[in-house]
Amino acid sequence: MAHFKKPEAGSWTEHFSTLGTEPVDYTDSIDPEFYEAEREAIFKKTWLHVGRIERLPKKGSYFTRELPVVNTSLIIVKGKDEVVRAFHNVCRHRGNKLVWDDFPNEETSGTCRQFTCKYHAWRYDLTGDLSYVQQEGEFFDLDKNQYGLKSVRCEVWEGFVFINLDPDAESLEDYLGEYGKGIKGYPFHEMTEVYSYRAEIGSNWKLFIDAFAEFYHAPVLHQKQAVKDEADKLMKVGFEALHYDLQSPHSMISSWGGMAPPKDLSMVKPIERILRSGLFGPWDRPDIEGLEPLPPAINPAGAVPWGVDEFEFFPNMSLLFWAPGWVITYQYWPTAVNKHIFEANLYFVPPKTVRERLAQELAAVTFKEYALQDANTLEATQKMLETRTVTDFPLCDQEILLRHLHKMAVDHVKEYQDAKAAS
């Protein structure tokens, strides 16, 4: 029996009629040719989140970002005019990497007045203009105006810095669409206490989004996380979301969250009772403005037992809002058809007391315990998909976001290939 109301069509999946209900072909996660097409059709055409604005606190603050999926390294910098810009991290003289420390493949950050190449000391100002050439007289009719850094589209939404390699792309605001508008005003800027995790995962990038975009697995894979009575109850009840929505290419799931705080304290682990925290974060909301009322796109069902919303911004960014007032971003950066780098950032309001600090510590530790279990199924899935013994998989109504993600990937690749064939 359903615990929460479904749309009139009878299911979330049928409500969004273009999705169909047939089994889904997972060739898109194992085919090297499809992966190469994704790099062109998706990652070089869409807006990609590369970091928070707090990483650029001053004029001249910068950080570099390695993006193997689009085969480049970028410099993101705040100019004297406070504008955030992005450039390909390559010196125009002979192609050396412009900004790096000891190891060329490692990211770096800092503050500077200009960028100076280690090789021959060509200099670029914070707007990317070439400002100085060592022994300029030795060159032949060199017009410095023609040799500025190659720039990349860069826009900021609510403090999230995005880049786009497509100069003709629509604006970031238009791309983020209804969700972008509906989330606006959430107090992200207050949440500057950051925990950043990184993991190398032996699976296609979409498989990890699949793992986090449905909670149908939670009572099963994570059953040992809960005390026994709670685990038994969760297994029996199963999982149903409060609400799903698609605003293609993006999507969202809204879920209840009975554990922040729990009605029955015996249902949570002893340390959670003392620190008043757990998977859903510290139970006591931080004392800041902007959490009440929440922006309209959050908890769209207006449900009292609401616990968490997860927005999937296509292609590779998840943004989670937890009822107790903190957020997570996940990102999935492909490095091969069967490999990717997973990044997670946990953002809290800075704690004022030791007690608040330890409550956040428990939330962060709990996050990692869950994430490792989620990550570990993926390599096994990838390996077995690659056998091609089974190619089509039935997805249930609680897996609608997965169905949508794989359709978006396939549609983007097809559209790109059709346009290329026509030109």
Binding site: I271, N345, V354, R357, L358, V365, L372, E379
Partner: protein
């Protein structure tokens, strides 16, 4: 030289768990037996509430060194709570080869 405030002298024998970073605490968890973690848990868990109350007398961004050590010990309690309370083993069950690195963290 004691690491912890005099009020927590009973926990001094666990001071090798006063570790400032998650990487150190996680590594020590993986290197420890369940018996060692159970002993730490049994001794520190009844003092967690006291440690919060004691620590809250000081500004979080300007903690005396011994209070800082006390917080690091309690962070280790948080780190071993999963093995002790639910896993019954140091590693996360069903996590196999999965590994995650915490590369940015607020260190007390």
């Amino acid at each position: 030289m004691p690491k912890l405030p005099a009020e927590f002298a009973d926990l001094e024998k666990f001071s090798d768990w006063c570790l400032p970073t998650e990487a150190e605490r996680y590594a020590k968890r993986l290197d420890s037996t369940m018996a060692q973690m159970q002993e730490l848990y049994d001794a520190t868990m009844p003092r967690l509430e006291d440690a919060c109350a004691f620590g809250d007398k000081f500004p979080l961004d300007d903690l005396p060194e011994d209070v800082r050590s006390l917080i690091h010990l309690m962070q280790s309690l948080v780190m071993v709570s999963f093995p002790v309370e639910v896993w019954k083993q140091p590693r996360v069950p069903d996590s196999g080869a999965a590994w995650a690195e915490l590369y940015v963290e607020p260190v007390v």
